[in-house]
């Protein structure tokens, strides 16, 4: 419950107490306090207050849905329904992140650098897209010292993901990373619920690049490990999202 509603309930309760006191003691001052606290308490109770952060989050959710709508349209236009590959590229000497969605079934390996444009035929036919985690990566890794592209332990990936997803954008409250023989398994605990069910609205996009949760996670993991990552599956449950990714 937000603070405004707590103040409203407090004032309304106070007005009831003052009214009872007025009944017992018959002192007019209590009745005056009853009126004043009731007036303010009922106003605060009635107004549908929401903090600016809540409204802003709703706005960002709409923008993300719009991004997915555009992606859906683009993927339909190119008739693409394949899993995208997250990989780091060199753009003007800087390291960045892209998703490459294969346009044909058997595409040869990707080039290491971004040639620009949305379709690249350098080493294969791919739709090159900028993932949702792009700006977050620029913000986070821009502040950090360069992450050495060597094998990172699970706890190191967990630390990077926690700082990005829990501290900077507060997408979830905690993260667990487990590496199994087949996949990298990442669990997000208490995530924001705004993007639950997005796969029903934009099935093609979610199949290709993943939901906003897994897309951001895959971007960060790919950037940190300097490896090509493909989202294998994601499961949504009440307070937890399980994302399985493969290094390709």
């Amino acid at each position: 419950m937000n603070r405004i509603k707590i103040i409203a309930i407090y004032l309304s309760t106070l007005s009831i107490i003052f009214f009872i006191l007025y009944f017992i003691t018959n002192i007019l001052l209590y009745l005056a306090f009853t009126i004043s606290s009731l007036l303010l308490g009922s106003t605060l109770l009635l107004i549908p207050y929401e903090s600016r952060e809540e409204a802003f989050l709703r706005g960002l959710t709409f923008l993300t849905y719009d991004f997915y709508a555009n992606m859906e349209k683009l993927l339909k236009e190119f008739d693409v329904n394949r899993r995208g590959i997250y990989f780091s590229v060199k753009t003007n000497g800087d390291k960045s992140i892209r998703i490459a969605v294969p346009l044909i079934e058997k595409s040869p390996p990707l080039a290491e650098r971004d040639l620009g444009g949305i379709i690249t035929s350098s080493g294969g036919s791919y739709l090159m897209l900028v993932p949702p985690g792009f700006s977050l990566i620029k913000y986070f890794f821009g502040k950090q010292e360069a992450v050495t592209p060597i094998e990172l332990e699970d706890y190191q990936i967990e630390d990077i993901l926690s700082r990005c997803l829990c501290d900077i954008i507060e997408l979830c409250t905690s993260i667990k990373v487990l590496s199994t023989a087949e996949h990298i398994v990442i669990k997000l605990y208490n995530p924001i619920k705004e993007f639950y069910g997005i796969e029903k609205v934009f099935p093609r996009t979610v199949y290709s690049i993943g939901s906003p949760y897994s897309s951001i996670v895959a971007s960060i993991v790919s950037y940190a490990l300097n490896k090509r990552i493909q989202i294998f599956s994601e499961k949504f449950s009440r307070g937890e999202i399980t994302i399985e990714m493969d290094v390709v």
Binding site: L31, A32, I35, S36
Partner: protein, 82 residues
């Protein structure tokens, strides 16, 4: 935040008005109510964030208060006339 300022200013003015009226030994509750309503209308107009969804709800309270105020005025007029 503007809504917190609204609450603080309203509480300060309500309490100041109560202390002043008590100091003046005012015994009529309708005087208290009228002063509170006046403060409420002015502060709401000045400090309440201008959002349509807020205003529509606040208008309900204002309408109820104005009905009570009209009843008080009518009662006073009747007293004077009789």
């Amino acid at each position: 935040m503007k809504l917190y300022l609204y609450i603080i200013v309203m509480l300060i003015l309500f309490n100041t008005a109560t202390i002043m009226l008590t100091y003046l030994s005012e015994k009529r509750i309708d005087v208290y109510f009228s002063i509170y309503l006046l403060i409420y209308l002015i502060i709401t107009e000045i400090l309440m964030p201008f959002k349509r969804k807020y205003r529509s709800r606040v208008n309900i309270i204002i309408t109820i208060c104005l009905i009570i105020f009209a009843y008080i005025v009518a009662k006073r007029v009747m007293e004077i006339l009789s």
